[in-house]
């Protein structure tokens, strides 16, 4: 059985869709409202077991993917939507062009402007061989290696501790108790 939705839920869905469209950067307030109503209408018709907000947003995503696919026909729908979103913000279209977002037919100049937009975060790779040369560190390396690998530190520390203790005891014992 389909869940019983309330008008409040559809109001919330409308607000959500409108907010998302505005975040996408779809033209004017009027254009946002028009698109919101169209999306909600479609969502109501397609409503299944999902909540209104989910189905409305699904519809909005699908519509945007469909529009993006018309601009980037070679890309998969999801990828096309991502490319379109980046291109919309990268090319900084004017208000007239923005009003064409999610229209059934995108003007060819706008479509070309968007489809030509590429974000190349880095240029073409031209590999160079950069490898460290073997470094000889001289006698100090030999001494260090011998110290680390052959030298036993524990007896040295033990001897140091014992002799320091003996020295301090003698110092205490031999020091005059009062000025002579």
């Amino acid at each position: 059985m389909a869940p019983v939705e309330t008008p409040d839920e559809w109001d919330a869905a409308a607000r959500q869709v409108e907010d998302w469209l505005r975040a996408v950067g779809v033209g004017s307030q009027q254009r946002c409202l028009e698109l919101t109503l169209a999306i909600l209408k479609e969502a109501r018709e397609a409503q299944g077991r999902q909540e209104p907000i989910a189905i409305a947003m699904e519809t909005a995503f699908r519509k945007f993917e469909g529009w993006a696919k018309s601009v980037f026909p070679e890309a998969a729908a999801e990828r096309a939507a991502l490319q379109a979103l980046v291109a919309l913000h990268g090319t900084q279209p004017d208000r007239r062009q923005l009003a064409m977002v999610l229209e059934k037919t995108c003007p060819s100049d706008f479509s070309e402007q968007l489809s030509k937009f590429r974000i190349d975060a880095s240029p073409e790779i031209r590999l160079s061989k950069m490898t460290a040369r073997k470094m000889k560190y001289g006698p100090i390396e030999a001494i260090a290696q011998e110290t680390w690998h052959r030298f036993a530190w524990a007896p040295l520390f033990q001897a140091l501790v014992i002799w320091t203790a003996i020295f301090l005891i003698l110092l205490r014992w031999l020091a005059p108790k009062a000025p002579l």
Partner: protein, 694 residues
């Protein structure tokens, strides 16, 4: 050399004479000081402690003497500017190179606040275009950031910069997934992938500022001198608002030119590299300067952290020159905003410099580079040596005091040694203060740009007092850092805080600087009990230790810095308008204004999830995954749910990085955020403020 570079030819005699003068002066002065102390000690025969003091004194004095002679030679060079041999540009206009020399401006980033970085890059980019040589340059932001909020801010910053400047395909952003070998690994990664496109590379730090004019001049210098591998500029510090920063930037502005001129006097073409604000010839850098591994037993200590000095040594080993272009204006950086952050940097640099020890005796390293390495080592080893010298002195005094009670003849010896100490103390003071006077003298023509004679003199007195007050604590902490390093304590390469927006509280400083206070109390007690007659002599050190937290707190305040600026203390030429620096002032002002108030917050993650454009950009910049393993999926799916439904701050930084490196998870988070009603998503996602960890 082709025309354009300031010098024509350097003869072997010139190099020999200069080096002999410099090192001869150091040896003679150190020898004189040691002989004087030895003579004082030897009146009653040497004790073991005296021998130890003598050896320590030799090391400490040679360091002070080196600084003194650098300043003297720097002053000498400026007294006879006609005889100066330095890397610089004559101002000649060269015909354009065919093909034009392409230069990459590379900017490694590591969890830094990216706002000021992009602001600087935008200003630099537009100025480079205005020079008419803009086509020769590309910018690379090379990120190793592992905090999600920094990563996201960098991506959007780069995108926004390209959008505003139209620098698509010329301004690049690269985020390494695994930040292997830190900054040097990041640069090496750039060289391996894209180095072949470029003849030169200008390395910049996150806080570096270089003017377009200077960068084009550096390229011209490199073009004119094909034997030169690296030209290092002398960066001055700017934008200081806290008192600590203002004191530092004033000191650097006043004294650095003299010391740099002195250093250039002896090393000439065998200079050092400081890792940033420099231009490098890419081909030899790729061929010869990849860092070798250190022969350490533990694998995680084999990588060289502080790469610059070693890269200069390797460049010299390969037969290329390294110059310090200290006379070229237009190179800037910022300093740590307070003593606590200064010590964070010191901790990193300490490890880096101590690692260079391995190269001190390595065959094939140029003598000049060995001296650079030695100077870097001594910058940190001097601290424990000074501490040991003080402790030896205290013990010596204790024993002599006891002996003097046993022998009637000791009083005379003690007093003559005391006289020798006094003479040496004042001589050392002279060696420390004379370079300041030379710095003042050499800046005589710039006095009006630093607030006039009276204010500059006042600033010199205040900064001398301030450094004297900080020095004992720095000695204590640097000794600790050296000990930690020798004991093999692991130290990470923490990002440098450069923001002055939030001054640390007094409570924070008291917690941070408990060690000097504890040291003062303990040393004071022991001295009062065992060597009360020395308490007066050593009391300045005890007072400085006790005052450290308060002084650190006071100097961390932007209000204190602003007050000093208002009364005309610690002014630098870049802060005072004159016809000489209008262009640079304007440039710095634009960078400063654009970068202000930009703080990277956790809420960048909210933006990524909410904002369709940012989300799409982030996913587009991720590497496309061909297949996600079942194990990875099982790790990511619960994390996504946890992030949306429960407190998102409960996810660790690593978990967030896992989610944000997965394109499916990023898209899922975005779509679920928009699809879920308010009750099925944590309220924080709507409110946008990062919640407390539950």
């Amino acid at each position: 050399m082709k025309p354009g570079v300031l010098f024509e030819k350097i003869t072997a005699e010139t190099v020999g004479f200069r080096r002999a003068s410099f090192f001869g002066a150091i040896l003679a002065s150190t020898g004189l000081g040691v002989w004087f102390l030895a003579r004082a000690f030897s009146r009653e025969g040497f004790s073991g402690l005296e021998v130890a003091q003598l050896i320590l004194f030799a090391f400490l004095l040679h360091q002070i003497v080196t600084g003194f002679w650098l300043a003297v030679l720097g002053g000498w060079t400026q007294l006879f500017p006609g005889k100066e041999i330095r890397m610089g540009w004559t101002g000649a206009v060269l015909p354009a190179a065919i093909p034009p020399a392409r230069t990459a401006l590379v900017l490694p980033m590591y969890n830094e606040d990216s706002g000021p970085i992009f602001a600087m890059a935008e200003t630099l980019w537009s100025d480079l275009q205005a020079t008419g040589r803009g086509d020769e340059f590309d910018i690379f932001f090379l990120s190793d950031s592992n905090r999600p909020e920094n990563w996201i801010a960098e991506e959007w910053g780069w995108f926004d910069l390209c959008r505003r400047t139209g620098g698509w395909s010329r301004i690049h952003y690269r985020k390494r997934r695994s930040p292997r070998h830190g900054k040097s690994g990041n640069l090496a990664d750039f060289c391996r992938r894209w180095g072949a496109h470029y003849r030169y590379m200008v390395t910049l730090d996150a806080d570096s500022i270089m003017t377009a004019g200077l960068i084009t001049r550096l390229v011209s210098m490199m073009e004119s001198a094909p034997r030169v591998g690296i030209i290092q500029t002398l960066p001055y510090q700017v934008f200081g608002r806290t008192l600590f920063r203002r004191i530092q930037q004033f000191s650097v502005r006043l004294y650095a030119p003299v010391f740099a001129a002195g250093a250039n006097y002896w090393h000439l073409f065998a200079g050092n590299f400081w890792g940033h604000n420099a231009i490098l010839r890419v081909a030899p850098f790729i061929q010869f300067c990849d860092l070798p591994e250190l022969p350490e037993p533990s694998t995680d200590r084999r990588h060289i952290l502080s790469h610059d000095t070693i890269e200069a040594a390797l460049m010299r080993k390969a037969g290329y020159d390294v110059w310090l272009a200290y006379g070229e204006e237009g190179s800037y950086e910022t300093a740590p905003p307070n003593l606590a952050d200064h010590l964070v940097r010191e901790r990193r640099w300490c490890r880096g410099n101590l690692q260079h020890f391995w190269f001190l005796f390595a065959p094939g390293i140029d003598f000049a580079n060995r001296f650079h390495i030695w100077t870097g080592l001594m910058a940190y080893l001097a601290a424990p040596l000074w501490l040991a010298f003080l402790v030896c002195g205290a013990f010596d005094s204790f024993f002599k005091h006891h002996l003097s009670l046993l022998s009637s003849g000791v009083g005379g010896m003690a007093s003559s040694t005391g006289r020798a100490y006094a003479i040496l103390f004042f001589a050392t003071l002279g060696l420390l203060l004379l370079p300041k006077l030379i710095g003042l003298w050499s800046a005589r023509r710039r006095m009006n740009q630093m607030g006039g004679w009276l204010r500059t003199m006042g600033s010199v007195v205040c900064e001398t007092l301030a450094w004297s007050a900080w020095a004992p604590s720095m000695m204590l902490y640097n000794s600790l850092f050296v000990m930690e390093e020798l004991l093999g304590k692991r130290v990470g390469w923490a990002p440098q805080n450069r923001t002055e927006a939030q001054a640390p509280s007094l409570f924070f400083m008291l917690r941070r600087f408990w060690l000097p206070v504890a040291a003062a109390v303990l040393a004071g007690f022991l001295m009062a009990k065992y060597i009360p007659h020395q308490l007066g002599v050593l009391s300045p050190i005890l007072v400085a230790w006790l005052a450290t937290p308060w002084l650190a707190w006071l100097t961390a305040q932007p209000a204190a810095g602003e007050w000093a600026r208002r009364i005309g203390l610690f002014l630098i030429p870049e802060e005072i308008e004159s016809h000489l620096n209008r262009e640079i002032r304007g440039y710095l002002h634009r960078v400063d204004q654009a970068g202000r108030g930009s703080i990277c917050r956790k809420s960048e993650i909210t933006r990524l999830v909410r904002d369709p454009a940012l989300n799409a950009l982030h996913i587009s910049l991720l590497r496309v995954r061909r297949m996600v393993s079942e194990k990875t999926r099982q790790h990511l799916v619960p994390l996504r749910e946890k992030a949306l439904e429960r407190n998102p701050a409960a996810l660790s930084q690593a978990e967030w990085m896992d989610l944000l490196t997965d394109p499916d998870s990023c898209l899922w988070l975005h779509r679920q955020f928009w699809k879920r009603p308010t009750g099925k998503i944590h309220s924080w996602w709507r409110e946008g403020e990062w919640p407390a960890v539950s």
